[in-house]
C-alpha cells in the first residue's frame, strides 16, 4: 500500500469520535428511530425505488464506530437500530466503509461507484438490494444528512458543519 493510500484508509476508518462520543446504545435507539422516521416522512418516494428490497435487512458498518447499524427500509416496519458488533445480526446485505465516506454518501457529496473502485466501500450479500438502496438515497433532493441535522436544530447543524469540515480536511489530506 502506498503512503497516501495508507493515510487515506487510516483516515477513512477514523470515527467521528472528536465530535460525537458514542453514547450507550439504549440512548441511541430513540434518536435513530426519530432520524429514520423523519427521512421517511420527508421522502416517501424513496421507498418506490427500493421496489422488492424494502424488506431487506441492511447492516451498515461505519468503521471506527463501536457498533453497526441495522436498517430495514420498509415503511410498514421501519427499523434503524444500533447493534453491538459482537451481536451483529444476519442480514441480506452488508455495506462497510469509513464514517466520513458513508456520511458523504448520505450528504450527496460522494459517489458510491468511486468509493467502490478505490476499495473504500465494501459490499457483500444481495448486490441488487444495495444498488437499489444507493439509487433511492441518491434520488433524495438536497441532503439526507442535512435533513437529519435539522431535526436537532442549531446544535445538529453545527455538528454536521464540523463533520463536513473534518471530512473535507481528510479529503484534501489524501
Amino acid at each position: 500500500m502506498t503512503e497516501i493510500a495508507q493515510e487515506k484508509s487510516a483516515a477513512s476508518g477514523m470515527g467521528p469520535g472528536r465530535f460525537l462520543p458514542p453514547p450507550p446504545l439504549f440512548l441511541l435507539q430513540p434518536v435513530l428511530r426519530r432520524v429514520v422516521r423523519r427521512v421517511a416522512d420527508l421522502h416517501p418516494s424513496l421507498f418506490d425505488r427500493l421496489g422488492p428490497h424494502r424488506s431487506a435487512h441492511f447492516v451498515i458498518d461505519a468503521r471506527g464506530l463501536p457498533f453497526v447499524l441495522l436498517l430495514v427500509p420498509d415503511p410498514g416496519n421501519l427499523q434503524f437500530r444500533a447493534i453491538a458488533r459482537r451481536a451483529e445480526p444476519v442480514s441480506d446485505a452488508r455495506i462497510a466503509g469509513g464514517f466520513f465516506d458513508l456520511l458523504g454518501l448520505v450528504d450527496g457529496a460522494e459517489d458510491g461507484d468511486a468509493l467502490f473502485f478505490s476499495r473504500d466501500l465494501d459490499i457483500t450479500g444481495n448486490t441488487e438490494a444495495v444498488v437499489c438502496l444507493r439509487n433511492a438515497l441518491d434520488d433524495v433532493e438536497g441532503s439526507i444528512a442535512e435533513d437529519v441535522a435539522g431535526l436537532f436544530g442549531a446544535p445538529g447543524r453545527a455538528v454536521l458543519a464540523a463533520l463536513r469540515r473534518a471530512g473535507d480536511r481528510r479529503g484534501s489530506g489524501s
Binding site: 500500500m1 493510500a5 418506490d48 425505488r49 427500493l50 421496489g51 428490497h53 458523504g104 454518501l105 450527496g108 457529496a109 460522494e110 459517489d111 458510491g112 461507484d113 468511486a114 467502490f116 473502485f117 478505490s118 476499495r119 465494501d122 459490499i123 457483500t124 444481495n126 448486490t127 441488487e128 444495495v130 444498488v131 437499489c132 438502496l133 444507493r134 439509487n135 433511492a136 441518491d138 434520488d139 433524495v140 433532493e141
Partner: protein, 331 residues
Amino acid sequence: MRPELVCPAGTPAALRTAVDAGADAVYCGFQNATNARNFPGLNFTPDELAQGVEYAHARGTKVLLAVNSFPTAGRFGLWRDAVDMGARFGVDAVIVADIGVAAYVAEHRPDLRLHLSVQAAASSPEAIRYYVREFGVKRVVLPRILTIPEIKEVKSEIPCEIETFIFGNHGLMVEGRCSLTNYATGLSTNMDGVCSPAAQVHYDKEPDGSVATRLGDFTIDRFGPDEQAGYPTICKGRYLAPNRDDAYYAFEEPVSLNLARLLPQLIEAGVEAFKIEGRQRSRAYVRQVVGAFRTAVDQVLAGQEPELADLVALTEGQKQTQGAAASKKWR
C-alpha cells in the same frame, strides 16, 4: 458551432443536478427494458419524466429520451409506449437503436427528432446515410472505435450531426452486439437493457481482505486487499489461461474514457455534441463531471487553454484513457 454537452440522468435528482451544473441536454430513460441502463432503482416513471422535462425546459436544457434497446418479438408495445409518452411529454429527441423503433418514430411521430444510439453501432458513412435516408435520423452517436481523423472523414460524408462520448465507462466491444452478459446470465444487455444484472453479481470477501467478484456462476475477478476495483462486467474481468502464469485482463482493463485534452480537435473535426456516460452514477459524479466539462468546453470555445479538473478519483480502476480517439491499438 457551439457543441452541445449531453449529460447523464439516472434519477430525477440527477437530472436537476445536471441541468444546474450546465448541461445543454440530459439523456434519461424509463424504468424498464426499453433503455440500455435498466438497472434496479434507476430511471424515470412517466410522471417523473414529465416533471423532468418541465424542469429542464424552464432552464433552457433539452431532454433526450433513450429508447435504445432492441425489442424482441411480442414485446414491441413497451417500446412504442415509451416513444409515445416521450412525445407527449415534449422530449426534444428520442435516441433509438432498433430499426423497428426508428421506423415507428418516423411513421407515427414524424415531428419527433430522432438520434441514432451508439447501440446501433453505425460507424461507416454508408450505414449512417442509410439511417438518415430511411428514418430521418438527425444525429448519430458514434461508437467509441474511431480516431479523430476518422471522425472528421465520416463527418464530411454524412448529412447529420455527430455526437461522441468524451467521458465515462469504456467497454470496447462493439456496442449493441456484446453478448457476454447473455452468455453468463441468460439476460441480454441489448434486449433487456442491462449488462451484469446486479441480482447476479456477488462479492465474496476473503479473510485476507481480497474480494472475488462473481457474475452468475462465473468468477470474473479477484481484487487483492489494496487493488483498485472495476465494474463487475465480463469485459473488465481477469482470467486464467493455460499459457499464462497469472490471471490477466483478456478483453479490457478497468479504465474510464477521458477526452478532455482532445476537445479542441473534436470540435475542429466537426463534432456537434459531447456525451458524458454515467446514468448509473450518483449526483456527486454528475455535478463534478458536468461542471468540469462545462468549464472546459466554454474555455475552448472562448479560445482559451482549458483548465482540466482532476476527475481521476471518479474513474473506474482510477485510470483514464483516450481510447480509440488517440490510437487504434486495442489498449
